[in-house]
Subunit: 290 residues, 4 copies
Amino acid sequence: MASSTPPRRTASLLIDCPDAKGLVASVSGFLYQHGANILHSDQHRDDEQGLFFMRNEWDLADFALDEPAFAAAFTPLAARFGMNWRVEYSSNPLRVAILVSKQLHCLSDLLERFSTHDLPGELRLVLSNHDDAGPLTRFHGVRFERIPVTPADKAGAERSQIGILLEEGVDLIVLARYMQVLSGDFVARFPGRIINVHHSFLPAFSGARPYHAAHQRGVKLIGATSHYVTEVLDDGPIIEQDVVRVSHRDSVAGMIRQGRDVERVVLSRAVRWHLEHRILAYSNKTVIFD
Amino acid sequence: MASSTPPRRTASLLIDCPDAKGLVASVSGFLYQHGANILHSDQHRDDEQGLFFMRNEWDLADFALDEPAFAAAFTPLAARFGMNWRVEYSSNPLRVAILVSKQLHCLSDLLERFSTHDLPGELRLVLSNHDDAGPLTRFHGVRFERIPVTPADKAGAERSQIGILLEEGVDLIVLARYMQVLSGDFVARFPGRIINVHHSFLPAFSGARPYHAAHQRGVKLIGATSHYVTEVLDDGPIIEQDVVRVSHRDSVAGMIRQGRDVERVVLSRAVRWHLEHRILAYSNKTVIFD
Amino acid sequence: MASSTPPRRTASLLIDCPDAKGLVASVSGFLYQHGANILHSDQHRDDEQGLFFMRNEWDLADFALDEPAFAAAFTPLAARFGMNWRVEYSSNPLRVAILVSKQLHCLSDLLERFSTHDLPGELRLVLSNHDDAGPLTRFHGVRFERIPVTPADKAGAERSQIGILLEEGVDLIVLARYMQVLSGDFVARFPGRIINVHHSFLPAFSGARPYHAAHQRGVKLIGATSHYVTEVLDDGPIIEQDVVRVSHRDSVAGMIRQGRDVERVVLSRAVRWHLEHRILAYSNKTVIFD
Amino acid sequence: MASSTPPRRTASLLIDCPDAKGLVASVSGFLYQHGANILHSDQHRDDEQGLFFMRNEWDLADFALDEPAFAAAFTPLAARFGMNWRVEYSSNPLRVAILVSKQLHCLSDLLERFSTHDLPGELRLVLSNHDDAGPLTRFHGVRFERIPVTPADKAGAERSQIGILLEEGVDLIVLARYMQVLSGDFVARFPGRIINVHHSFLPAFSGARPYHAAHQRGVKLIGATSHYVTEVLDDGPIIEQDVVRVSHRDSVAGMIRQGRDVERVVLSRAVRWHLEHRILAYSNKTVIFD
């Protein structure tokens, strides 16, 4: 079907390093020399900070290097330019966990996208502090675990969560309207691997009850923001944002309802780009490669 | 929950008639005189055609007239102005059927909205010419019927469909990416009561394979349109449209994927407004009341 | 021309008061009784605060009451419901002053709109703390005054400005990227009659250099906001907002450039709605009537 | 100023050719070898048609090749891959003419952008079949010529226009709501060098009076399209499109008014990208390079 992941095996190389002459020539020369058939190539230069970012995705069909051989061959070039780099293979789809509370609109949307292979990763489990998400999750054949979170034993709950996440070998954690704040310890276990959707156009209305705050301020557009989670609440690198028009006629309930449509879209785009290895985060920002 | 339908019982009066002085005064005077506590009131004048449109929604708590009494009392006033009118009661939610083929993204979205009471109607059944939609529909506790449609026996299939729709007393039929063209006879059985989503920004790219046509034409935005179904394909009154930005980088498959997000939103808005009795269609257009 | 103000003479009645039964009936009955041919009528109820807002615009051709007669006849009704009200006549277009500094994109846009009668008011003068705006303003036949503003004599400059504004009988002051903060005294002289455009999506990035702040935060949309000026900087009732998509590729300069397109549109819409008497401000919000 | 063209001298190389392995490596290797400090590099592959497109912009400060030397050195590489290519130098800004009729909103906007150096080209003249645009054009110090166009002598008028355009050495012709259809001969003289703005979301509502057609069809969004002019009316490669929301309340005049804001933005973006050498047209589409 048109929307399914193409069966061809590809590799994606992501690089960031200080900007220098000859970077594109060296990297594309290296890939060409080893038989890469480039499918996508995108670069970005941050002139202010003097940084260079690059993503190349190529078909592995004629490529001469397997994973260990690539590392051996590429390391000298990477060292010359001081690169941070990694290669991701489409044959190793990322393993995903979704954390959710009682509102299921984002979860429902993501379940549909994973089950139709609209999203390329492997959804391993859904974790919740409530029961509500259980039936739909299990209908889709996905493992569901309820781990209650109480003020008294939040640390214990997080230990249980982390245990299951490690057991499933989870690469990406998606907070699909998960209403608990993760501890710094939890976040530090999964750096750059937790995506949250916040129901406002950040940095406006961070924190609790953003639709109420937006209603009170009388804004004419409401938004949603997907971002990587860092130790500072609602402050991590923004991945995607979108808005919808509201008016004086919209009650808080109406804003909540319309906001859900934006939340779904904004979160699913962020998850897609992460799973396609299209995002590099730096300086609390993101580069989204084409 | 914040987004659920409020439990208060309301009535909605929809009027269209030739424009004249005193219309608002007469109608609002009538409602006031019988104790209506107005919640929403909206009017529209079409200056070109000299037409007047009005919707009033009021709380029934203190209202003096029940359904038959309302008709008896309002008829003389309606006659004086030559009004078409109807009253809808929130205690009689509309009964809805969804027709779907193999693509389930709109269906999945609507099932979630009905099951969380985000949409106010009563979803009675899902009809399909394929089996794919069965499991999810039944998971949500909704009746599912498969009626195969073959070129040889399309008329017979439509008879079966109509039979079930009448049996369930369906008020609104939603074509959620249903890939069969309904016959004129079918459409005539449910005038102004069939909503379709077309996967283009109508009137551009009507007919089959609109994303392919949009890709070939090199447009920079793609859209979706929800509209009432008439006997002319993709030509009925437009209810809602929206777009999303694309670029030369987007393949047809990418357009299809991004288009799905627009289809979902555009269709669900149209269904909501119809179920809330906010739409009046005339001259192949729609008035959407606030 | 299609876009010019129609020559018919109209009156607009704006009302706000505590919500009560019979408000629409009473007001529309009053207007009907005196021969008003209603062109636009719009209401809003703020359920939380129990407030009612209404705007009626009617053709004066057959209307029985002139300005003093209207006040005499309407006052008892207004008193009964505790209304704040005012009537505006299209034959008395508002007199407008624009304050601007060195960036002329909003001014240039507004001058074009006033000179083609796309905007209904009467532009009386342009005030600036610099010379840059002089030639274009004078080309359009509009009075231009430069009043330098220095930290040492800001109060004196404001006295001069106020003198000219009063001399011209200005009803509306538009800050078209005027880079000086007005004193509380100045603002208090023109309550609800000063419109500013702020170059961010408020409440995000209030204060100075919002595009720099947006760039640093890595947002994916930038916006602009038009609002009434109050004594608190960037905090008055929001009239209109809009956004444009940006990416990691956009430098601060690129954001500034794209932001200008949003500023122009957002400011000109606010000015239009004010001049058409479509705005009621309350609780630091605005109702924008249809 | 933040938005002005940076003074550094750059070159932009645009390439299109059949896709092949080693293209990026060869081109970037060539540029590196001659000392190019790359500022922007963007590629696109059209998988369906097997085509490759590339744009590189580099700082000329350390670049070893002047214009003739570049051609000599690059030709063998270009021949090997079957490239169409050209180099554009920022020191040779394009010369622009604007054609306009009686509606001046796009012209006014472009004049402001050229005069503040927001747009990088050199505006040489404004041509019109009417007098209206004369004063504002001359105010900005730009040559204005009126050439009346009559049905009887359209060919003669075009000969006069072409004469002046050639005399001024014009590289780009911008139709800023110019209401005459250019002949095939005229278009053929300036292939890929005429940009028009059409006041609809093409391909919907091509031809005359698109806002009237949109109003009649009852669409919920109206748009504008900038595109290269070809011999087929409103059918050339689309450069940019945008839309604005309308409702049943909007008259044709209201649509015209709101549409103007979209026309301005959509046209000025197309002009900017052309002047920055960011557009490649092929197969009646455009690639817009980052």
